[in-house]
């Protein structure tokens, strides 16, 4: 390891006189061994982005290159844990240094002492290659498959039974160890054999999503909205109820109280699909807004690498980030301190390409071991002033397949989730409708069309009503208004704090079916000449949930 000295410090960036560093190499900075990453190299000096608070750092303090980039440790014990943006276990930090994070220090993300029960899947003499499965460990409810890291060769011996990560899980001929965990550079997507188009739905339990703007397994969606429009509540509802095996949740530059709430709730609540504790299927990565800004930039990469790791075992993983705007702001802050040429709104010009290569890490893949795994993403965006023309929203729109637009006026009317049904879209809708028609009910697509139609009609009738008053409308139109109101209130609106927070596809279907049937019956009666009030009143039976 080489050692150098700090030459200058400006915010989170430090320049050092260390020679022989590589770009994106991980570096220890100062007496406190703060973690940093090389972001620029010049003949005379290197510029390092420090992931921690630089207050108290002085010129002349030592700097050491580690010879490898920023990595995460991948192995059993991730599930149910809570990490900061550099994969340091927050719970253990709390135990060791109290409620405030006063000193930043190196801490491994995995527990090397904990004992596991290892069942090998290979035998002496087997050939191992990258990504192949060495064996399994029961990690809570999950079978955690130990995968072969970068090494390859013939198995000389393999362990079995009681073991800790500190011990070798086996050995290759030639003496190289087979470890139980490995490190992976966060900025490098984990490889797979093949990627497939996303065609199966990811059921979120949110009716407006599942019915109108469905999301596919392996797909990516953004959910932009001004403050108070319920981004976080929405993301958390999805995290609770989504039909996936594993959820990776990144609180990126958001509120600490929200995270405390989330943790407490996930401890109490159970997964509606498997009836196990939600916490046991969730990995949390938390970098609240007052934690160091550069670690916020790293946090989404740390999290997505862990998500990919479980995808590689053949699981369906959902990656939720709240919020990507805070990540982009961190990127901007770092870019500014590097004195790079700013692009739109001061964001660096590489914002869009960074975002798109990040979002492309989602997908359905055939893993290196031949399993099928998926990584889906729902990313919230916090556009300044609720203005969707800003660079982060726009850059995301080009790469993601679904857009759930949160509407401030709906939120003011306390309509939640405040997703606008005219502006939002899902590019997966067509493929997934076929799936729903096949698996849930053949009339799915038809009902969906009717539902959209009624909402559209309501909008145009409303314009007329603004001029002539509701009383001046025709009966058929008033009926549409009434039915659309029911669709909005009973179907699209969903209280995140009630039993209705989770709506499985059959309930979703039954509800919309009953509302549309109600419309059809009443419309029929109108045709027979029955007065509107009578026609509407005679049929309030069809209500479900409400």
């Amino acid at each position: 390891m080489q050692t150098g000295k700090i030459l200058g410090i400006s915010g989170p960036t430090v320049s050092v006189d260390l020679k022989g560093l590589k770009l994106y190499e991980r570096v220890f900075v100062g007496h406190g061994l703060l973690t940093g990453e090389v972001v620029r190299l010049e003949r005379s000096h290197a510029v390092i982005q420090v992931y921690e608070e630089t207050r108290g750092l002085g010129v002349g303090e030592p700097v050491k290159g580690l010879g490898m980039p920023l990595t995460v440790r991948l192995g059993p014990g991730l599930m149910g844990s809570m990490y900061d943006g550099l994969q340091r276990p927050l719970e253990r930090m709390r135990k060791e240094m109290g409620p405030f994070i006063r000193v930043w220090k190196e801490m491994y993300g995995l527990d090397y002492i904990k004992r596991w029960n290892f069942k090998p899947a290979v035998r002496m003499g087997d050939e191992l290659q990258y990504g192949m499965i060495v064996g399994e460990i029961q990690e809570g409810a999950f079978k955690h498959y130990i995968m072969c890291g970068a090494e390859k060769g013939m198995v000389a011996w393999i362990a079995s039974g009681d073991i800790s990560l500190d011990e070798p899980f086996g050995e290759f001929t030639g003496g190289l160890e087979i470890p139980g965990c490995h490190e992976w550079p966060v900025r490098m997507p984990r490889p797979y054999r093949k990627k497939f188009a996303p065609v199966t739905p990811l059921v979120t339990g949110q009716r407006i999503i599942d019915f109108l703007f469905p999301l596919a397994r392996g797909g990516a969606a953004i959910i932009p909205g001004g403050f108070g429009t319920g981004k976080t509540i929405f993301e958390q509802s999805v995290a609770k109820f989504a039909d996936v095996d594993i959820v990776v949740y990144v609180g990126c530059g958001e509120r600490g109280n929200e995270m405390a709430d989330l943790i407490a709730e996930f401890d109490e609540l159970e997964d509606p699909w498997t009836k196990r504790r939600l916490r046991d299927r969730t990995i949390l990565v938390v970098n609240t807004s007052n934690m160091p800004v550069a670690a916020r930039e790293a946090s989404i990469y740390t999290a997505v690498t862990m998500a990919e790791y479980y995808r590689d075992m053949g699981y369906n993983v959902l990656f939720l980030a709240d919020s990507l705007s805070r990540w982009a702001e961190a990127l901007r802050e770092i870019s500014t301190s590097l004195e790079e040429m700013p692009g739109e709104e001061g964001y660096p010009t590489y914002l869009a390409s960074r975002l798109s290569s990040f979002i492309e890490r989602a997908g359905v893949v055939e893993t290196m071991s031949g399993r099928i795994g998926s990584l889906s993403m729902i990313l919230s965006v916090s556009p300044p002033g609720g203005d969707f023309t800003e660079p982060v929203t726009q850059a995301c729109l080009r790469t993601t397949g679904a857009f759930f637009m949160l509407d401030t006026s709906l939120a003011h009317r306390r309509h939640f989730p405040a997703i606008n049904w005219f502006q939002s879209y899902s590019l997966y809708a067509k493929d997934l409708s076929e799936h729903y028609c096949r698996e849930v009910a053949p009339e799915w697509e038809d009902l969906r069309r009717r539902c959209n139609q009624l909402l559209q009609q309501e909008e145009s009738i409303r314009e007329v009503a603004e001029i002539v008053g509701v009383e001046g409308l025709q009966d058929a139109d008033r009926l549409v208004m009434r039915v659309a109101e029911r669709i909005r209130n009973e179907f699209l609106g969903q209280n995140a704090y009630s039993d209705d927070a989770f709506s499985p596809p059959d309930k979703t279907l039954a509800l919309i079916k009953s509302i549309i049937a109600y419309h059809d019956r009443a419309a029929e009666k109108l045709k027979q000449g029955i007065a509107l009030d009578e026609a509407m009143k005679s049929d309030e039976v069809g209500r479900v949930g409400g």
Binding site: G56, R94, I101, G253, A260, T288
Partner: protein, 442 residues
Amino acid sequence: MRLSEHTYRTISTIAGPLLFVEKVQAARIGEVVRVVMPDGRSTDAEVLEIDGETVLVEVYGTTQGVDIEKTTVTFTDAIKKVPLSPDIVGRIFNGSFVPKDGAPLFIPEKWMPLTGSPMNPAARARPADFIETGITAIDGLNTLVRGQKLPIFSCAGLPSKEVVAFILRNARLAQADRSFVVVFAALGLTFHEYSFYQRVLDEMRTGFVAFVNMADEPVMERLLAPRFALTVAEYLAFEKNMDVLVIITDMTNYCDALREISTAREELPGRRGYPGYMYSDLASLYERAGRIRDRVGSVTMLPVVTMPEDDITHPIPDLTGYITEGQIVLSRELHQKGVSPPIDVLPSLSRLMQKGIGEGRTRADHRNTANHLYKYYAKGRDLRRLEAIVGRDGMTKADLPMLDFADAFEQEIIGQGPARRTVQESLDAGLVLMKKFSLEVS
């Protein structure tokens, strides 16, 4: 680590609050620097940036009187700390922590760093229990919860001062056995405002700690005062087990100070000239509110933001809204109607309300009553627009009581005047009004 003081007389540039000092050995970021001017006056400063032997120093006070030839700069090898003691309660300080009430400084029991440290998210307890402000629009409809940060969005000319004074006088906890204290930070106050607040504080006598930075005092102090206030709040809450309500007025002055300093540093301006890191900077204040697992005290925050041009999408209220847990919005329209306090409950929101209300905290029917009040008022407000088009005669019979309810709600429930209401009284007033208009409460 030098563990000693170094003094230099090597200033090369002075620009606004910034000094460049040359040939400095081993300076540290955030180190406190003492600047002594030729006439003997001295002021504190902080190391902002280091480039080799050139150090950029930011002066807390005024740089008037600093020269290049004679001024000395002493690097103290210490970071800025705040003196603390339980005796701080009842005292008034300026933005540099100098007593403003004539009494000498207390004897510190402890020193804590000014910037604080981020609370480990794993150590946070979720906000719980409510703080009674005595205002129906807040207690009844947008309840303030211990550990929450809930800003007041005001506009120029609206009585945010009176609302703050009301809360200063009337805020209390439901549990009588807990000790409650208000930490008040006033930034960029005019003398007129100061004399108003001084009367309020004089009446209160104790139960507060105040930091006052006047409009003609150094801009840097506007950045320091809220941090002093929050460090004091954290100390009282987490070391002395108190429940602390921090009121900061006005965050718009804080952000303008931040912009002024940022421009002096020649940083790239972001939206409306405010620095790109304003979100993180505001978060470093707002996020200090909270509760800690296994500890008794709490820090609750009530910052006041005056929205420039009444624009809620202006960067200051916008970024504030993204960090805080809701907002209380004052309305010009209600103010003109003579409603006091003029709180518009429709855009107002307390995200944590659910954690503070209900049986055992306020009352079992709290959520339901609030929802109904909200619903009928929102409906009434909607109908007003229709009324403007078709006239009162064109409205249906069912709509008329809703319209009248909205008016009465504004005058009687929101516009409670100077009297304090307990949360029970607030809820009862709402129930009575709904009954009067025979509106159903299911």
